[in-house]
Amino acid sequence: MIRVSVDSAPIELAVEVAALEERGAGGVATFTGVVRGDDGITALELEHYPGMTEQALIALAEDATERWSLLGVTMVHRVGVMVPGERIVFVGTAAHHRREALDACAWLIDRLKTDAPFWKRERLGDDARWVEARESDAAAAARWNVD
């Protein structure tokens, strides 16, 4: 019911969605993050904290199943080097009721941004720079606390 993966292989969206649909739910909500190529970015490197990352994602997925009535939660994050147009992250939820699937999916991606140990580095040709954390991500994660 919970599937978490941190892998350098490309994210197989169709496979992930099919697995969620097979949970017998009425609705499946997904969010997919894609590497953007604007600002001259030629590649994106994703570093993570092996061991802690998987634990953090499982903890988030478990939290989500306590907050909402879900039949399936999938969180897949890619690591290593990827190019614009490739998927970085996939979050999917399956539920009988669409509101639960939609809210849980939005919550999971907001929390993943602040609660999982990943770091992005952008390559711009021969140059590279670490991406700075954004205030807006902390705010997005915090806004769920008022529920």
Partner: protein
């Protein structure tokens, strides 16, 4: 104690992992950062702005005033930027 470093912390120090034995006076993460800064120019550069650092003890995020206790693994890194 296993020290792990990620992202630009790792780059500045020049390694992602080392085993160190901090002195008794190093009680919390902030103390550890201060002590690490004395070890090499790379360490000093990595630890220069503690307010830009985040930490995990035994794979749990902790604030910088968290006591090390009998931590086996302490990680230092910039704020996370996944997703």
């Amino acid at each position: 104690m296993d020290l792990l470093y990620f992202a630009w912390v790792r780059e500045r120090i020049g390694t992602g992992q080392e085993q160190l034995d901090p002195p008794e006076a190093v009680r919390n993460v902030a103390d550890l950062i201060g002590w690490l800064a004395t070890l090499s120019p790379g360490h000093a550069e990595a630890m220069r702005e503690p307010e830009r650092l985040r930490a995990a003890i035994d794979q749990k995020f902790v604030p910088l005033d968290a006591l090390l206790g009998d931590a086996r693994e302490v990680a230092l890194f910039p704020p996370v930027t996944g997703g």
